[in-house]
């Protein structure tokens, strides 16, 4: 046993980490939740909808972070799980009139099963690094192409979630500006955060991290590497599927590109990398930074300062600014925002 404790933390930060204060994480989650509850009552509707979007991003990325951050298996195909969650919920609701909550659970199960299958194949054939990433990408693309041409899921048309006359918790449908959407998203995100804290401190999480840091050593001391890697992937997929299922209920529409497109996979990666890979808070911080960034650049360029007025109304500029900021953040904060903050704190 002593052999694992030495190499594991060393690769993570270059020096032994202090014991993670897990209960402090849980406390922080609780405090933050309480602070955020009144947010949708303060924000105007458009900003509230951005806030919900941020939470959906965070949820996707918490899922990605579990597999790729803590588990060390770089996934470039989380769109597969997001899409499975979205399509399962939409399919059951539209075709069989099943509550989206049940659809969400079903989506989690199917996504987890699919992840286990992909994981088994990829690990069985010892894919690593970029090869592993591109294999996950290929599976997501295959799902997209299959959905686009499959009568079973309405081909490229996708699903509209029918509007209901009444508002209902059971059917997750409220007035458009209702704070309930935010609260549900917040609730789901908090659960996902707690799950990831519990996972990381659990035996399964430690084994997964050990396997990430030195697979051979982990296997030598008798950790069933394959089993814990698959468990990590399944959990990760289930969390991302929740994001997909909620996405459909909030945006009321899904099609193959929105569900399985490669931009969805990027959206799952982005917050975690910006916030800090393999940290509990990274995906959340990243989502808070990147989620509104698009809207912010668009707002500034819509009413530009006098010096930049000549650029007004030219399409594409807002995306350029977004690209520049993205590069700057990744270059300046290679360990993410949370990584940088933690580094500062640990120096004190």
């Amino acid at each position: 046993m002593t052999t694992t404790t030495a190499p594991a933390p060393a690769t993570a930060a270059g020096k032994p980490l202090p014991r993670q204060p897990w209960n402090r994480h849980l406390l922080a989650i609780a405090v933050l939740t309480v602070l955020l509850i009144p947010l949708p009552l303060i924000l105007p509707p458009a900003q509230a909808s951005v806030a919900v979007r941020v939470l959906i991003f965070a949820l996707m990325s918490i899922g990605w972070n579990m597999m790729s951050g803590f588990g060390g298996m770089f996934s470039f195909g989380h769109a597969a799980y997001f899409g499975i969650g979205a399509y399962t919920g939409a399919y059951l609701l539209v075709e069989h009139d099943v509550s989206p909550w049940i659809g969400m659970l079903a989506g989690m199960v199917i996504a987890a099963a699919f992840a286990t299958l992909i994981g088994f194949l990829a690990l069985r054939y010892k894919l690593r690094g970029a090869y592993f990433a591109l294999a996950t990408f290929a599976f997501a693309e295959m799902l997209r192409l299959w959905a686009t041409n499959s009568e079973f899921v309405n081909r490229a048309v996708g699903y509209h979630v029918p509007l209901r006359v009444d508002t209902s918790w059971w059917w997750i449908q409220f007035e458009p500006a209702s704070p309930n959407y935010f609260w549900i998203a917040l609730g789901l995100t908090v659960v996902a955060l707690v799950v990831s804290v519990q996972f990381v401190r659990s035996r399964a999480g430690m084994f997964a991290k050990a396997a990430r840091d030195d697979e051979d050593a982990a296997a030598t001391i008798g950790i069933p590497v394959m089993r814990y890697k698959l468990l990590t992937m399944a959990l990760s997929a289930a969390i991302t599927a929740v994001a997909g299922a909620f996405y459909v209920q909030y945006f009321l529409f899904i099609d193959p590109d929105l569900a399985f497109g490669s931009s969805v996979s990027i959206q799952a990666i982005l917050p975690a990398v910006i916030g800090g890979v393999a940290t509990i808070w990274g995906p959340v911080i990243g989502a808070v930074v990147m989620g509104p960034l698009n809207d912010v650049t668009a707002t500034i360029l819509r009413n530009p300062p006098p010096a930049l007025e000549f650029l007004q109304g030219r399409g594409g500029l807002d995306v350029i600014v977004y690209g520049v900021l993205l590069i700057i953040i990744v270059l300046l904060l290679p360990k993410g925002v949370y990584g940088a903050i933690r580094k500062r704190w640990s120096r004190r």
């Binding site: 105007p44 081909r155 509007l163 099609d255 808070v288 912010v296 668009a298 707002t299 580094k343």
Partner: protein, 414 residues
Amino acid sequence: MRKTWTATLALALPLALAACGGSAPAGTSNGGGGQSGGTIKIGSLHPLSGSSAADGQQMDNGAKLAVEAINNAGGIKSQGGKKLELVSADTQGKPEVGQSEAQRLIQEGAVGLLGTYQSAVSANVSTVAERNKVPFVIDVSSADSILAQGYKYTFRVQPSSTVLGTSGAQFLDQVAKAAGKPVKQVAVLHEQGPFGTAVRDAFKAEAAKAGIKVEPAIAYDAASVSDLTTQVTQVKASGADVLMVAGYYRDGVLAAKAVDTIKPTLNAVYGVANGAFDLPQFPKEVGAPAEGYFDANYHADMTKPDMQALAKLYTERYNDQIRTGAVLAYDSVQVIAAALEKAGSADATKVRDAIASGEVPTLIAGPGTIKFGPTGENVNATPILMQVQGGAPKQVFPADKAEAQPVYPAFKSQ
């Protein structure tokens, strides 16, 4: 130490910006009254960046010209000559951006929305409009499913995919019969999205009524296709006498190039709502082989003097040729403005009722005015038939909209 500072700065910057971005519109939010500053706001949602930016910018420009024309003519007279104000938003072609931008425009007081080009975005904006009870006029987005939801606040000026496919088949049958060479078999090449498949199905059903065999129907992925010669070879091998193509610009050009390379024995290449065949740049890009290509598409009516004037103004202002999308946006603004005039109020629900019961003249070639049926579909929306003649697309059918006679068979060599 320096690194930590930049870190904090990088974190603080977007948050601070978010705060600014958030506070500006919040100040003007007034719950949909839409009369702040003495103007009436109309929201225009189009893809101003991304892969459809060219069309999105055209459409946004069209909407701007419409607002300008209405304001120059004295604004909304029933409301004391109040001026219109167009608020433009970039959807980037993404549904979630479209959704939050629509939300923002409504919050800033827009009494009507128009847009959005991509069907997925329109589907999202239509639910936002429905739930906020703000009328939304779709200028371009042909997917049938959007208006199949029973929404009351969504209207569509453009013909749906089904109307396009049905009329497309009728026109082909009529033109070929008039030329004394009835069509026997049509091969279909279509993009695999909702637009292409819906057009294919409607076309096939209508063609069957006229006794035309439709086979084979070959699908392709418009986003990634880089060559269509194999597909056109399949068409050649099938012995079809007409090739129908339903797709967008880039793939339309690929199809034309493949037809030029393979040279199947066809009487016509016949687009239905094809994004390439009725555009002036299509013959420029493909060259002489483009001659004779048909396209059954909704199209600006160049026989109308008002349309000619608008096309001229557009070219002067934006140094580009106006496309039908821009004209549809222009018309959509007219629809909202006419409703504002009729309602005598900027109350969104009254505007919605006025749109539903109103009739508005159009610059698009068709049998009449813009008039909405119970589902919000424009009952007078139909395509017309265009054909490339002398290096430019001309209106050729029906006869009352024709600038020139249709040439069928379209290719001299066969």
